[in-house]
């Protein structure tokens, strides 16, 4: 089901101060896609999720889920969470400690007054789906973090909802388990025809899991797009910086060539390949991701986008070296293959393909 959010505003009052949690949010979450709300903590992403599910009431606006209006300030509609027919996986999992695994998963079905046999069948099916067969009678508190996470997922999936909401569900798992669970979750969700809204502050989680991402900041939606669009094509400094490490270089557009603008910066002239070029004379920021910078001890082979610099520091981080290169007064971060024979202090060339540069307007 599609979720449409119109003109949503939400303010909190705490100790005499007003805190804006959501500011004029307009958003359409497409049906049967994994949609992620990404942003730093306190950006309002969890508040937005809680408004969708009905645990929080916005100050203004309207929320439609499918054909139903679940919240409308103007029409005075508020459908309570238990009547919205959604499912949610909480950050804390919210596994009820006084029930065993079966009872936890059966709960939403019992609420819906389904027959005992049907409940038993569905719980078994769901537990098999999340690979927790045979755990039915285990007390919920006697499970590991990853298993509790899957019980929470099973409980959310059991009533076969049309929409499922996730509030940072992986943040309590350790790094390795988080990676595995992320992949599992992706395959679970793509196998089901289901609309998933996923909240996280982890950019890798957002990029690898989502069909579409909305980046949020201070209660506002900054940008919406596919992971690739967000990562490579963002026009905003905040978004480009938030979704991955990048080098931001200030400059001025000096001319527009056939395939894009030329920008004069402190490290030299950078050629960018973009579709929407700002007019000549405008001040812009160029973003170059570390993985698009090739470092070589020889020449780049062509003159365009080739810069000379000195290796300031090299840190081995496993799959690569992270190098800090100084070009004039500017420091650039790069990724260097672990096999490269480069030492700190070396004079090297930096080569950048024009399609690896993007121009940030805001």
């Amino acid at each position: 089901m599609e979720i449409r959010i119109k003109d949503l505003n939400k303010n909190y009052f705490s100790e005499g101060k007003t805190i804006t949690a959501l500011s004029n949010v307009n958003l359409t979450i497409p049906a049967n896609k994994i949609f992620t709300l990404l942003g730093p903590s306190g950006c309002g992403k969890t508040t937005l999720l809680r408004c969708i599910v009905g645990l929080e009431m916005p100050d203004t606006g309207e929320i439609d889920i499918g054909d139903e209006i679940v919240w409308s300030k103007d029409r005075g509609i508020f459908v309570p969470p238990e009547k919205r027919g959604l499912s949610m996986v909480f950050q804390t999992y919210a596994i009820w400690p006084h029930m065993n695994v079966f009872d936890n998963v059966a709960y939403p079905l019992q609420v819906r007054n389904q027959s005992k046999e049907e409940i038993k069948k569905k719980v078994e099916e769901t537990l098999r789906f999340v690979q927790l067969e045979g755990f039915e009678n285990r007390p919920a508190t006697k499970l590991s973090g990853g298993q509790q996470q899957r019980v929470a997922l099973a409980r959310a999936l059991a009533p076969e909802p049309k929409v499922i909401l996730f509030d940072e569900p992986l943040s309590n798992l350790d790094a390795k388990l988080r990676e595995e669970t992320r992949k599992e979750l992706r395959s679970f969700l793509t196998n089901l025809k289901i609309t998933a809204v996923y909240v996280t502050h982890d950019r890798i989680e957002a990029l690898s899991l989502s069909d579409a991402i909305a980046v949020m900041k201070a209660g506002k939606i900054m940008e919406i797009g596919t992971p690739k669009e967000i990562y490579f094509g963002s026009e905003q400094k905040f978004v480009a910086d938030f979704v991955g490490r990048t080098n931001l270089i200030q400059g001025k557009v000096v001319s527009i060539e056939n395939d894009g603008p030329l920008i004069s910066t402190a490290i030299g002239t950078i050629a960018c390949q973009t579709q929407t070029a700002p007019p000549v004379g405008s001040i812009v920021t160029v973003s170059i991701r570390p993985e698009f910078i090739t470092v070589t001890t020889r020449d780049c082979g062509k003159e365009r986008n080739s810069f000379r610099g000195r290796v300031e520091s090299l840190v081995f981080i496993g799959e690569a070296y992270e190098g800090e290169i100084r070009v004039g007064e500017t420091r650039l971060i790069t990724k260097i293959a672990p096999t490269a024979s480069i030492k700190e202090g070396d004079e090297i060339s930096l080569c950048v393909e024009p399609d690896g540069c993007s121009i940030l307007l805001r």
Partner: protein, 561 residues
């Protein structure tokens, strides 16, 4: 949750405010009044009269010696036991758990009386025995003395002290000790130079809490102090209102004010110390167990000491009461004594209308009082933990302060109030007095139960489709049941044995068990006293067993939906 939040906090503040502030204000006003009948006419006479009494100095000195003495006895014993339990390989560790819980079930008045039965100078069983064996002219021991009172009060407060010291001891970072040993110190030196100093906040907290309890204590001073004419503040107040021709509630209030001031000061000190101890005592990581010290040769002797201590704390008092209730008069256990055993005292108690009435009243107060108390504290704890408005802070402080109120002083304060109402000399006055005095005992288990219920647990039930009422029934209530049961048990057992509020508020017509036992003790009717005492223990135990069973059953039912 469903409760309307706007009306809840103010009405709770009114109720709790009434329960805690009313007796204090009435006490204050009363202390400046002529007498119960002449309330409101200002006079300083009562203060002058009570504080120029030459006997008061001795009473205050006695009280301070008693407080410090029992605090030291309880804390040193608790340190010894906690160290053995958490840090050494002493056998039968389950014994330590029994010691820390079971003595709370034995009413203080009975514990004190059982020691009087053993060690009183005229016919205490141990004294009689020693006189027979060694052919002595005089009794070697006299429990009716300040050291005797200190010993018994110290033993009574040992569980409380243990419950403060043992957790601190087990969360102690063992590497502090290990580094001392690496530096070449012996176990003993490490204990004195490292372990005890690091535990200082917990030790001070234990000393303060036991001092508060012995300041409030009425059972031991009345059962052991009054026969030997050793008066403490609490028994002094009791003497002013309960003996002689004219009970002087004005003077009792004037004396009570200083007892109240002392205990409020101590409870604030206690609160300060416990917040300090959170800062200082190092808590180590998860699943961490300190290395146990091998006691080797000392294992058996130390275990015998602990076993004897538990015998004195738990088995002996009950045995003595049982024995005394069956023999016709105090005599050393012998074939002859066993031959003369009968149910005479039991039958006498069961035929005594006042004893029966007190049994009925205490049972009523235990069941109804605990139920009302739990309902009230349920709302209070919900407000403190879940609503967290600025007003709920007032609630927390109010109910915490009432923890320090000495029962007899609160009783006097309430007396000034009730005498003006139709509640005077009714069971209702006791009910209100009890709930006011023991409110914190219900709040403690229930706040921790509410803390356990994370907001997400409620919300996820609602997202799953459970409405407010469904969520309350299937999620919140089942999670609260253990807390409700332990709060109910705590309050019910406290109410069945309640003495210090009751000695003031209990009048002919609303007698309760502990007061009736005190009357028997004053009249030297040991046989009847013991029979009634055993009945009292049976009543409390039955309530505990029934409540636990009900809790277990409810939890099971709720789980199955």
């Amino acid at each position: 949750m469903v409760w309307t939040r706007t009306a809840l906090t103010p009405s709770l503040i009114v109720i709790v405010g009434f329960l805690t502030v009313c007796p204090v204000v009435m006490l204050l006003l009363g202390s400046f009044s002529e007498g119960l009948g002449a309330f409101g006419t200002f006079t300083l006479e009562k203060y002058i009269k009570s504080y120029t009494d030459p006997a008061l100095i001795e009473i205050i000195v006695n009280t301070i010696v008693f407080m410090i003495g029992s605090a030291l006895v309880a804390t040193i014993l608790a340190l010894f036991m906690a160290y053995l339990n958490t840090r050494t390989n002493i056998p039968f560790k389950v014994l330590f758990q029994i010691i820390s819980i079971v003595p709370m079930m034995i009413p203080h008045i009975l514990f004190a009386v059982s020691w009087a039965l053993l060690l009183n100078p005229s016919n205490g069983l141990i004294n009689l025995l020693l006189k027979q064996i060694f052919n002595l002219q005089h009794s070697p021991f006299n429990i009716y003395s300040l050291p005797g009172m200190i010993l018994v009060e110290g033993l009574l407060d040992l569980p409380v002290s243990y419950l403060i010291i043992a957790p601190a001891m087990s969360s102690f970072d063992v590497s502090l000790e290990e580094s001392s040993k690496v530096c070449g110190s012996s176990n003993l030196r490490t204990l004195c130079k490292i372990t005890l100093p690091v535990l200082r906040p917990a030790i001070l907290a234990s000393i303060t809490l036991v001092a508060i309890r012995s300041l409030e204590s009425f059972a031991v001073p009345s059962a052991l102090g009054m026969p030997g004419r050793i008066y403490l503040l609490s028994t002094h107040i009791y003497r002013i209102i309960a003996t002689g021709f004219a009970a002087d509630y004005g003077m009792a209030a004037a004396v009570g004010m200083s007892a109240l001031a002392a205990s409020v000061t101590l409870i604030l000190l206690y609160r300060h110390l416990t917040s300090e101890s959170d800062k200082y005592v190092t808590i180590s990581g998860r699943g961490y167990r300190p290395a146990l010290i091998d006691l080797r040769g000392a294992k058996v002797p130390l275990f015998i000491i602990v076993a004897l201590l538990s015998f004195f704390l738990i088995v002996l008092p009950v045995l003595v009461l049982l024995y005394t209730s069956l023999v016709p008069y105090s005599m050393v256990p012998s074939l002859k004594a066993f031959g003369m055993m009968s149910w005479k005292h039991w039958l006498a108690v069961l035929k005594d209308p006042v004893s029966l009435l007190s049994l009925k009243n205490s049972l009523f107060l235990g069941v109804v009082g605990a139920t009302l108390g739990v309902i009230l504290t349920l709302f209070i704890s919900y407000t403190i933990v879940k609503l967290r408005t600025p007003a709920s802070g007032i609630l927390e402080s109010l109910s915490f302060l009432s923890f320090s109120f000495p029962g007899i002083v609160i009783g006097v304060g309430f007396m000034w109030f009730f005498v003006r109402t139709p509640l005077y000399a009714t069971i209702g006055s006791l009910l209100i007095g009890y709930i006011a005095t023991y409110l914190p005992y219900g709040i403690r288990p229930l706040t921790s139960a509410f803390v356990q219920i994370h907001r997400d647990l409620e919300e996820s039930s609602r997202v799953c489709g459970g409405g407010t009422f469904y969520t309350l029934r299937r999620i919140i209530v089942p999670l609260l049941i253990p807390g409700i049961v332990s709060a109910w048990i705590l309050m019910a057992t406290m109410f069945v044995r309640e003495l210090s509020v009751s000695v003031v508020l209990s009048r002919p017509g609303n007698e309760v068990l502990a007061v009736q036992i005190l009357r028997f003790a004053e009249d030297g009717l040991w046989g009847k006293l013991s029979a009634l005492g055993i009945m009292m223990i049976l009543v409390s135990t039955t309530l505990v067993v029934l409540a636990s069973a009900a809790g277990a059953k409810l939890t099971k039912l709720r789980k199955e939906g």
